[in-house]
Amino acid sequence: MNSILPVHGLPEVTLGSDQATLEEYARKTFVTTDWLKDWPKREKRAARSFYGIPVEARGTIWGVVVLDSSDEHAIGPKDKEVFKLIVKNLGKLLEKA
């Protein structure tokens, strides 16, 4: 899928999070609850918003830039324009590489 995917409003996940919280987070981020249960041991804080934007070079998807934040509503309309500019320039650089 060649689209921008914004995910925001994720619940806070800690070692003591109940099953319903884990399930909500897992459903919105496409991970399993088992994987999620171990996350607080590995990471200091779970991201509460994501913004995934594809990067292309010569019409082919090269990869995806994913930005995450501990703020559940971190990414606003102005930020989206900045991210578009980043992937635009990244794509241009890749085309020259």
Partner: protein, 153 residues
């Protein structure tokens, strides 16, 4: 050759509903799929009127003949719509009719590819509906400037 006309920011900005593993999500079109510029001009060498789109990136193109009047320029890798060629002389109409007919033929060409992509939602090479719709919006926003060159045919 006409100047490129900037496509206004904000076209194709509406959220698109998708279902991923049973979860409904809202996504937005990739910025690579939204035309940044559009222009229309008569190519004397090809003897065709051409509507062209410019995007964030560039790629090699392939040409697809749709019928005796229309050919599309499509991105070889992405399937994105880069241009619509109209064989104005094959239309066999006078100048006044040309001014009406060419925009209508271009509109029909995009409508047809949008319809084709709806018919084959599982075939990624054809599923460029969102890009085609963005191209149609780009034309609708600058119709007069795009087809101004027809007066010189």
């Amino acid at each position: 050759m006409s100047d490129w006309i900037p496509v206004p920011e904000g076209i194709a900005e509406r959220p698109l509903a998708h279902s991923v593993r049973g979860v409904e999500i809202n996504v937005f079109m990739s910025p690579y799929d939204v035309p940044q510029f559009v222009r229309g001009s008569m190519d004397e060498d090809l003897d065709r009127f051409i509507v062209e789109f410019r995007y964030l990136g560039e790629e090699p193109l392939r040409r697809e003949e749709k019928d005796e009047h229309i050919a599309l320029r499509v991105g070889k890798n992405s399937g994105r719509l880069y241009g619509i060629e109209v064989n104005v002389h094959a239309l066999r109409v006078n100048q006044v009719q040309l001014n009406v007919l060419v925009p209508a033929v271009v509109k029909k060409a995009i409508d047809d590819v949008v319809r084709e992509s709806r018919r084959h939602p599982k075939r990624p090479q054809l599923d460029r509906r969102e890009n085609f719709e963005a191209a149609r919006e780009a034309i609708d926003g600058a119709r007069q400037e795009i087809f101004a060159d027809l007066a010189a045919v």
